[in-house]
Structures are given as C-alpha cells and as structure tokens.
C-alpha cells in the first residue's frame, strides 16, 4: 500500500500579512494537497495561498500552481506533484485571520 500522512503546519494561528509555514520534507511523496482552513476572517479581507519548493529547505521558489483564495471562513486547497524534496505553504491575508494549514501527502 502507499504511504499517507497529513501534517498540520500551522494550528489555529492568527496573523495578518504573510504566514510562511516551516519547511516540510516530503521527498517520499508523489503528490500533495495543501489545505488552508480559515476559522475567522475580518469582513472585507481575503486569504490567498500558494506552494513553494526548494532544493535544500533554505532557498525557495514558487512551485507555479496558481494561488487559491478565500473571502470567508471555510476550506480551500491546491494540488501539486513532482515537487522534489521540500514543500512550504505561503499564506497571505489582507486583514487579520485565523487559519489551520495542512499538507496531505501520498506516495
């Protein structure tokens, strides 16, 4: 059977501006889904997120999959494949929000 693992990157975290997750190694996985769950979001604010990849967990570049957006509490996701050894999630919020973020990995 394939391996599967969901890691919570940031747990019920309140922020404004930009939240980069900690680097996460996932070289064993063939595919990943990045989930962002917005618990609270100030009216009129928006949350967007994208995934970055890295050769070494230190230097980062956008993976290229178009970013996703939320304008209310809820869950959104994006899929990535062929991402090498590392992933991190970059979340931007135009106001203040509370999020829980995940990587669901399979391979």
């Amino acid at each position: 059977m394939k391996q599967f693992y969901t890691v919570v990157l940031d747990r019920m975290t309140t922020f404004s501006g930009r939240l980069d997750s900690e680097p996460y190694e996932a070289g064993w996985a063939d595919e990943a889904i990045a989930f962002v769950r917005v618990h609270d979001l100030k009216e009129g604010s928006k949350v967007s997120f994208n995934v970055q990849i890295s050769p070494d967990g230190i230097n980062w570049i956008d993976e290229g999959t178009p970013s996703k957006e939320l304008s209310a509490a809820g869950v959104q996701f994006l899929r990535v494949r062929e991402f090498g050894g590392w992933l991190r999630l970059c979340v931007n919020c135009s106001g203040e929000c509370k999020v829980t973020t995940y990587l669901s990995l399979k391979g």
Partner: protein, 309 residues
C-alpha cells in the same frame, strides 16, 4: 524493520521502527483540547507549535543527500528558528516533538535503543554546534495507580556555553521552586474533576530552569560529560547509538548507553506521581530536540527499537 543489526534488544520486542518504512505512528505532540469548545486551555497555548516529525532524506545545500544509516529516510524533528534563554521555559516552536502512543502489558525491564544524529540548519556560516540546546528521549508511562516519566536528556549547550553532559528526568525533592503549571490540563474521569500537571510531569517544558541548562526536574548523571561526535560542518552527520533501560516495577533507572559509554543507574528512582484519569497503562515514547539560538536545529532518527522482559 527487517533487520535488527546494530541493536541489542531485550527478550520481547515491542516495536522496531525503521523510517524507510514510513512514519510508524509518530506524530507531533500537541496539547489536550478543551471539552466545551474547539480550543485549547489557556495554559497550553504556547505549546501548540512544537515542530512535527517528517521523513527526511537528510539533504543539505552543498552536500546533497546524506540518506540514513539503513537506507534513505530517517525521521527528522525540527525546531522553529526561535529560542528562549536557558533560564526560561521553552517558548513556542523552540522544540520539535514526536510521540508514538501505545499501552504496555507488563512491568519488568523496558529498553529503548536508537540510532540518531543532530545538526543545525546550514543557513549561516559556522558549524552550529552551539545552536542545539538538547536532544532527548523519554517515556510517559502509567499503570493503574501511578504515572511515571522516565527520560534521558543530552544537554548540549546552554546560552551559548557547551555543556555536553547527560541528565535524567527526576525531580529534585529538596528543591521547592515552582514547577510552573497552573490551570486545567485534561478532562477528568468525571466532568467536575480537575486535572493539572504536577511536579514530575512534563519535564520537557516545565520546571524552574537555570542558565546552565539545569532545572529542578533534570538530575545530572555523575561523570557524564561526553563529547558526542558533531562533525566539521553541519552537513556531515554521524549516526549515534543510544540506549536507556528502566525498571517499571521498581520505578528506577537501570542503565544509559551512549556510543562508547555506559552508566549504571541502578538505585536512581524515577519520580512517580498519582494516577491520571484515562491514561491507565500508557506507554508513550517521545523524542525531542531543543534550540539554543534563533537557528533551526534538527534531530534525525534512523530507527528506534523498544523492548521489554
């Protein structure tokens, strides 16, 4: 785990985890949830961001992939790039924590062995040896009427000063400084029962701490200074052997083995406290690493074996 070469387990193997075969049930340690809403107790809110485990190929910026002792993957536990002074309690994210949860069936000898390494993130010049405060293994154990945490901590560096000595989880009974927990910690057996963390529980982030890395919960093993191999750059990792043996019946330590050293710990009692609701007969092995500076530090565990007899 297909082979136990490199290991010397007791008669009955409880688990033998090689991280080339997956996570084997290890996950991050997180606080208990309140029962009345989806939130944490106020007293736990600094403890929700311990670094989670990941399957690592130990890949470095200039060296490439190091791999593991028995293959490609080890379990890496990472801190965030943050630390509090050694005389303070650990701040959010300054430790990486991995736990596995099971229960045990007998109360004889219990042994943990592992092959592990540690290093600092290669983001700034310097080998980073002094970026790592400690690495540790412990068990959270219980039977039907008591709870006991047994653990060994390699205190590597405190406030920039190398220490390189071994400590056990054991409360200093002559010290009356605070343990540092207030409030509720968990649901009780009944809704009105209050559960709190008393002295002897959760050594990793409680206790009154000193600038040299000591605390009223860490017992310094005599003659335990040991320079563990930390190679000449942070991208050279050498796998280290560790073994801790304890006696669950007598609630005492038996021995600690580290690379070429072995300490006889017989007669050193662990600190045992009263029963905690709901966790009868737990056997939770836990691994953690702690940073001493604002630089990420990593513990790699190639494989880990727990055995008993």
């Amino acid at each position: 785990m297909k082979n136990l070469y490199g290991y010397n387990p007791l008669k009955n193997i409880i688990f033998a985890d090689d991280f080339d075969e997956g996570y084997n049930g290890w996950l991050t340690l997180m606080p208990n949830f309140r029962q009345d809403k989806f939130d944490y107790y106020d007293s736990f809110k600094g403890w929700t961001s311990w670094g989670p485990p990941m399957l690592s190929s130990a890949t470095f910026p200039y060296a490439g992939t190091h791999g593991s002792l028995h293959g490609t993957y080890s379990m890496k536990i990472a801190t965030r790039p943050v630390a509090a002074p050694a005389e303070n309690r650990p701040v959010a994210g300054s430790q990486g924590m991995a736990i596995k949860r099971l229960t045990h069936r007998t109360e004889g000898l219990l042994k943990c062995e592992m092959w592990y390494a540690f290093t600092a993130e290669q983001t700034v010049p310097g080998i980073g040896e002094d970026a790592i405060r400690s690495v540790s293994f412990f068990w959270d154990t219980a039977n039907g009427d008591s709870r006991t945490m047994f653990g060994a901590r390699y205190l590597n560096c405190a406030n920039g000063k190398m220490q390189q000595r071994w400590q056990l989880f054991k409360v200093d009974e002559d010290n009356d400084e605070p343990w540092g927990f207030s409030g509720d910690s968990a649901p009780g057996d009944t809704p009105d029962q209050k559960v709190t963390l008393v002295k002897g529980i959760d050594y990793a982030w409680l206790g009154t701490r000193k600038s040299n890395g000591d605390s009223n919960g860490f017992y310094n093993i005599p003659d335990s200074h040991q320079k563990l191999c930390y190679n000449e750059t942070p991208d050279k990792i050498n796998w280290l052997y560790f073994a801790l043996t304890v006696d669950l019946k007598k609630k005492e330590y038996v021995s600690l083995e580290s690379v070429d050293r072995k300490w006889d710990l017989r007669g050193i009692k662990a600190t045992s406290v009263g029963r905690y609701p709901r966790i009868d007969w737990i056997l939770n092995p836990v691994l953690f690493i702690e940073s001493d500076t604002g630089r990420r530090v990593f513990m790699y565990v190639d494989s880990i074996v727990n055995s008993c007899e």
